[in-house]
Symmetry: D4
Subunit: 221 residues, 8 copies
């Protein structure tokens, strides 16, 4: 039995960070085990560390070959990484306890880009006082942009942007059940928000929201 | 040219009110002009009045044959109808100005069943203070159930049930645009509400929500 | 390897019951194992018991740490709970044998809120006599509201509300196969019911229907 | 300005009736005015009459060129056609008044194939007694197959097949509104019917159901 | 730990066969293990045998408690059953090799109702000669109705009804991949067939198609 | 009242033909009247003629400003255009009479690129002999590629590629009704064709199919 | 005939600009004529001007009652408005000529908030050189954020963010046809962009994208 | 326990290659283990080798009975097969590392039909320079047709056809997540491509694209 094809499968984009302000990260999901390891290797061959997302089920595979500097849910920083104290510039606000993995992906992606964050979780609108208090707490910080994480009906995406002049990004979370579950209802709420000026990324795309913040903060300087 | 078939097309259910607590009403939408008139005639042959819904485009047709006692957007009460002063038992709360037609359908259906309502419109969560004030106003009334009307992302369906022990019914309104528009996002928010105990009817089905209230209030006695 | 972030992930809403008439329950689905245990702990730290739903696959995990007072399919009451004799005020009517888990969630949620129920299962319209007999049986009880559970085409949602003046709530059950399966056809039937006044919750949301009943019965007093 | 292409656009299948038991009919919908007239002409060139469906908006166009023997809603028989007295062999049962056009298409298509029908309309399950009476009436006839027409939630598609040993065909009717409207909920109910042995055609396809009956009755002889 | 609720979960419809011409069968899918065994027990308590469908993954469970008379893919006849020689009255025609399980369900359901069948598999239109030969073979039998099984694009549902005056029922098979896979494309083809008179059941519902044949053959007598 | 913005709205791609083998054409649909005229003007400013598609409702507008060289349904060639005799290299095969407009778009687009075609219409599989004859006729020509146009269930997309070694392109036509209508069922059939090697364009995209043929024939030389 | 209900339908949010950085605008779509005029009146009662969007079909109605300061496609500024020279801070890049109306809504909304823009239209990737040139032109300006407008497949949403460190917002445009048309394919491309850091608003929501820019630029100061 | 039915389940189409230019291959997915082995056996009974696709999870099963000549991801050539040096005539261009399995299916299917290919992977538009370089590399080869593989937003399907006169076929890859994931967004991009002349196959259908190339190259000779 012969396996065909020995083509170049990976061309890691080492200049992406310089060109776009966001470093190339590795999405583990959808890659075969050999291709995942190959990609990590390609990344670390020319840079000291790399961010890997959606690796929940591959932790063992990865840690057997590479050193994990930081890990939070399925998001990893591999290689050498110095965790410094950073001033929180991004507020991350989550509706419920089930949003943990998405919030971890946002927090670690920001950290990887050298950005500190201020995180408040389980402050959904089922108890509006909890939400109002969260916003009061945020108003005492120096954050300049908010990332909102919510599943189910995503009401947070309308309530919070209506209370603040900070720009807000929605990250619909794959939480809910039945019709419209798995994040679709939350995505629709982000797309239909009655509070003008909300923008969104795809369901569960915490990396994307953090990447936007990185570009945003870079452009502010 | 001969037209075939002279079958009985209408069997008006005059006993529905007694049997179920909700009178049969006539949905104008989807009926041909002759069939609509035939149905109204059948209804008024044995009872003094009848409720017609979704008749926006047939007002002229209907008024040329029958007397309109009350009219509000596309909802009509035909025949003889005495409008008495009624104590408001149902709160109707709407998110925006575009929800007018749906709210009119609810108000008039309740009225037809002898139920008074307390209506507050344009109090959506884009300005959460407006919503909180509306709930304070409601708390001063004697209403025992709330009907919530909202289009776009329908955040009202989560915020309000989280603030009150009154039972709440959602009526997603066909307002919004793009993906999830025409009421779908609002329906999904009603189905996914993080505030437990919310029930819903189909998009724009103000009649159905009011009918539930009629059954509810009857069962309370 | 260092795990980042030690934020507050859970803010259990101990006042929800007083504020809204429905106690905060814990949806096991979608929470990671540690977060699930953390949430139960937070709940039981200030109250004697807590309701957990959708925990089919976590029974062992939960029972290794907490005491289960009552269990029915995937619904659990944890902590101390006195099961008193309760007068049945809610009728729960199910179409088939496959609706067991959803009906269990409704029954136990009501029980947790101190509400007794009268349950009739496998009385779907494929044999209309079975349905008619069920309604006759119901008419001899003191129930004041009906919760209807049906999968497949959900015809029960139209037949029963047409026969009774009791308010009815539909719970589409995730039963069926092929196109429209997994509860979608049943949900559509609930949304399109030709019997006016039916309201619905999302597919399989037995907890939500029971929560509405709790609010309803509280408002009746 | 020159118009290109003078290809043969129509090849009328005059032998279809002999080959399959169902004559080729002309679906007006989707054809341009010239192509519709061309097709009718091709049909009538070799046979005395032809059935045209979905011609609601083209009656004037057609009648200006051809003689209409029979007309019912948008279904027409053109040319020469003798309407004889026929024994009713097919039962056509409709849920509401809005199903008129679909029922007309079924009735006229059967008639065109020399088959008599027994029609009962507005006997939907919102009043189950009405449905039971309809079935009693049917049981006194000689019909050997039933065609059921229903929109909205299509509960008729489950209730009736559960009461009779006659084979039943569902025709979902494009009636309803909001999510699942335009016949989709009814189609899903037909596909998910809990009463075994129900078959269905597409939304509004009265012609198709009648054509099946024609084949069925032919195969019985 | 106490398990609540000991309600009647199963009411087996022993008279369905007499009333409708189709015996109640047991759909294993969606039932919990205890409920499945309970239902089989209820069935066999008053009748000598019972048909169970979709039991692929429960064969061991079932055979440990009950005797299997016949088995074909996931369809079983439990109890005592005499397999007599039957004249083939139903033609079962399948497009490909992947349609085996669905065709087995049809064949065994017919057998259970005392109906013989003539089966031809892997004769899809990718090789039209294979299809034409199959129809020639069918024309030499005494079958009076055809059941067509096809996945992917379901072209068989249009080609065969256009060649024969036998009534045809489509059973879309859950075969295919990508967009429209899992039987949806085949279902759409059945609903949109250009050959008039085709009726369909839901994706994979071989039992339903066979049940229709049972009613059909009974009504022919 | 002042109208803002006088930006460059049109940058006509005059070199597209040379670069890609397909000239830029103008899709009338979705452009405002002024923008449509502006675009045509930009096109004709540097080349003798231009192809306009989907202009059914703008013929008067266009002909009032520009000279129409050729017109077929909604497809136009504007400016100066010499219609030469061309050898048919592309076969265009359509299922029914309703496919006329799509077939016209294909034929005229080919003509505009200097390619002759051989067109056969109304040869769908409802009468398989008609289809077989069409293919026999095609086999006598010199065509090297086939474009297949079909609406409804699109069975042609599987039957024809199974009979020939000519490469085939499907163009699903927006013909059909009910669920899966407007071309979706036909598109799904193209995507799921059991005859390997079929490729497709979007519903009604006759221009796209013809453009592929132009590239294809150019690459063959 | 009496019209019921004289409730407050409009509560214009005059403080929204101060609270959130974005002034309340009036979405004409979905409002009845009287409600639209009522809302404009409410707005202008306490502020000198107001922005109205999606008013294409109401220009005559509005201009008969109010003075239009600026108009571009369906976007209007009513009342008194001074158009000053503004430095372009936002780049607006559109793929085709059909994106005009959406781009106009963005440009005028920015203008209303005192923000200048730099607009480049018809630079889609069908001619990648056109896109590269556009980005070169942008790099010579002082813009700090990009709004990308594209319909059809929305490839611009991936190509441009991969070339620049400027933050980018996608506005899917309702352009395209067949499956995925009306902006859905473009929305999906925005949600799935392979270039990290892209955020999106709903189809055609130019107002929303401009509102985000207003918040963004305010937070930068 | 007796298993019913011993019908012919497999009729392998050994003449397909001669008739259509593409040999019948075996899709492992959806076949039961016995049916898969049966089909392979039938194939190898009259020909020296056979192509099997989507066999990722059956490698062990297959290799225990048959000899594997070549294997690449889930695509296999069984039996005897001579791998000769072939001139690359088809370019295969993939967007990312996750497209490996689909690209392998294309490469091996071509090889099986005696066609050489030139493969370039991980050249997606997130780095447009990488894409431009790939096209430059392609221009130096002798390939006459391109197969483009991309998941997520599939922007490659618009960028590349706009740069070349080579005919292009899109193969949407099941890569992406959230709404529009699993290849749907990429399929929509292929269907909506702004670069005229792109054709597509279904998501992940690498075999189909390669089969089209085989027909194409045969017709060129």
């Amino acid at each position: 039995m012969i396996t065909s094809s020995s083509v170049t499968r990976v061309r890691f984009d080492h200049h992406r960070s310089k060109r776009t302000g966001v470093a190339e990260a590795i999405l583990a999901e959808g890659k075969s085990d050999p291709d995942l390891l190959l990609t990590i290797e390609a990344a670390l061959s020319k840079q000291p560390n790399v961010l890997v997302t959606r690796a929940q089920d591959r932790i063992d595979l990865i840690s057997s070959k590479f050193s994990i500097a930081l890990k939070s849910s399925g998001t990893l920083i591999l290689g050498e990484f110095d965790q410094r104290d950073l001033q929180p510039l991004v507020g991350i606000i989550g509706a419920g306890t089930s949003d943990t993995a998405v919030m971890d992906e946002i927090e670690l992606t920001l950290l990887y880009h050298g950005i500190g964050s201020y995180r408040l979780q389980d402050v959904g609108v089922a108890n509006i006082q909890r939400t109002l208090q969260a916003m009061e707490e945020i108003s005492k910080t120096q954050v300049v942009i908010l990332v909102l994480v919510a599943g189910q009906e995503g009401a947070l995406f309308s309530v919070i942007p209506g209370m603040t002049s900070l720009p807000c990004i929605a990250v619909p979370s794959p939480v809910g059940y039945g019709e419209g579950g798995k994040g679709l209802a939350a995505l629709y709420s982000a797309l239909q928000s009655c509070s003008p000026g909300l923008v969104t990324v795809n369901i569960g795309n915490g990396f994307g929201a953090a990447a936007f913040c990185a570009k945003y903060l870079k452009s502010m300087k």
